[in-house]
């Protein structure tokens, strides 16, 4: 407002801009090694397929890319991706939503642990892939069986990690809350839950990788659409380049999902795990 204020105010935005620009530069700089790594991967693939192996059964990256563009142009590629992703997202979040409270209960109450351990310790050794046939018999070849399988593969990892997180809470955190006057419920809500967040997130991240495995297997056996169907059809009709399009998509989607998860973790939950 007054002249006296101007000199103290004006340098600030300028400093912000330059520091923001510098930060952006640093971010770009930090992803360069990543990009180089990816480029090397595709280069190795290119060299192997054009000079070393030279077979119709091992298409080069450029052939796969042109196939991918063709499939993208007629829309079928995005449809497959969307169907698979939708199944993963629904199953993954539903499984986590079921797993977290059960894990908290197992970690918090020894009686619940004893009651539920036979369930979790028995079922977690039956791989979700082994459950495909029964899932199809029970729920048909539609969405329900796929979502059931993703929930199944998510829920136990989340339960185990959540329960482990509850047990890993430093006793002094609970003791401090006790002498600060917190009751049992407050200790659970304001100490136990936040202290367990890093473990819950780790469980979810592991479950995400499992979801990709499971969805592909389930779609290969029984589905009309999805990346697993692309793989299976590719085998049936010897469309090797289509198989490779699906494989590359799976890799990229998994990588992207993991990055997104880590970014969200860093952005919103960093304070729960300061050492990470």
């Amino acid at each position: 407002m007054t002249l006296a204020h101007q000199p103290s105010v004006s340098p600030l935005p300028a400093a912000n801009v330059s520091s923001g620009f510098r930060r952006a530069l640093r971010n770009v700089g930090s992803i360069i090694p990543h990009l180089v790594g990816f480029a090397a991967l595709f280069l190795a693939w290119h060299i192997a397929s054009t000079y070393l192996v030279r077979s119709v059964l091992f298409p080069a990256p450029m052939a796969v890319l042109s196939k991918a563009i063709k499939l993208a142009a007629d829309g079928s590629l995005f449809e497959h991706i969307a169907v698979s992703l939708r199944r993963i997202v629904i199953g993954f979040f539903a499984g986590s939503a079921i797993g977290v409270p059960i894990g908290l209960a197992i970690g918090s109450f020894p009686l619940v642990r004893k009651l539920l351990e036979p369930w979790t310790e028995f079922l977690r050794f039956i791989p979700s892939v082994a459950m495909i046939t029964i899932a199809v018999i029970w729920f048909g070849i539609g969405e329900e069986s796929k979502i059931f399988l993703i929930i199944y593969t998510t829920v136990f990892i989340v339960i185990l990690n959540t329960a482990a997180g509850v047990n890993a809470i430093a006793p002094n955190k609970v003791r401090a809350a006790q002498v600060l006057g917190a009751n049992r419920w407050q200790i659970f809500a304001y100490v136990g839950l936040p202290a367990t967040v890093p473990f819950i997130l780790t469980g979810m991240r592991l479950a995400m990788a499992n979801s990709f495995t499971t969805i592909v297997a389930a779609e290969m056996i029984s589905a009309n659409e999805g990346l697993g169907v692309m793989l299976w059809n590719g085998r049936m009709y010897m469309l090797v380049d289509e198989i490779f399009v699906s494989l590359v998509c799976l890799g990229l989607l998994g990588f992207g999902a993991d990055r997104l998860f880590r970014w969200g973790n860093f952005r919103f939950a960093r304070r729960f795990s300061p050492t990470a």
Partner: protein, 285 residues
Amino acid sequence: MNHASSENQVRLLQHLIVEMSLPFINLRNVTKSFVGQMGRTSTAVSNFSLDMERGEFFCLLGPSGCGKTTVLGMLAGFELPTSGEILLDGKPVRGPSRDRGVVFQGEDSLYPWLTALDNIAFGPRMAGNSARESRERAFEFLNLVGLTGQDDKYPAELSGGMKQRIQIARALANEPKMLLMDEPFGALDAQTRAIMQQELRKIWLATHASILFITHDVDEAIILGSKIGVMTAGPGGKLKGIVPVDLVGERNRKDPAYTEIYASVHDMIREEVAKVSRIPAGVPA
């Protein structure tokens, strides 16, 4: 009828008089033993008795393994004595309560997901105060422990000494009847420790809080305490003796009175350490 009721009244009155004449903190023949592996029992403290007055800064000093942390744990209510009685203001201690604030040795008792200010506001918040009220109170104690301007930092962003300041502020903000401190500066470097000792002494001189302070450092006990209780070597430690620290003003290592207290406390400790390690007590350290 009338006679009986007046007799009851007399008994009640006598009871009250006994209660009122009791010291602020009263540990009577407290024994704590644990059942360890293979069913062996080990006794951490046996027949430990201690009286503490209101407003006293009592330093409990002893060689490692003498059971001083066990005494603090029982006073805090984290564990119950195997036998004996612990009274605070005449009432038996049956579990943790907001009466007795605790400052732990390590930083793992802080909540890393809360800012310094919200860590300090935790107690008032749990007591049902509004977020604004709790934060106002927390600011007061944040300033008291010299953390002004660090309110929005997370514990991971602060140094070891600052984290212990948060712990002290957090305990004080809850306005406990007494403060229990379990070697709170044990993990700090020498310079930070010296600063923290001075700050804590200042806080105590200003507030005259009742403090039980556990340490194995003789200097620390003399700099801080109004009384020093020396424990015998464990297992089954008990109180060997109490040395009053009647130094006025700034406590200075060059003060002959300081040296005298140091010598007597040090001799007591050396006797105990020698008992355990079988080194003759006469040999100077």
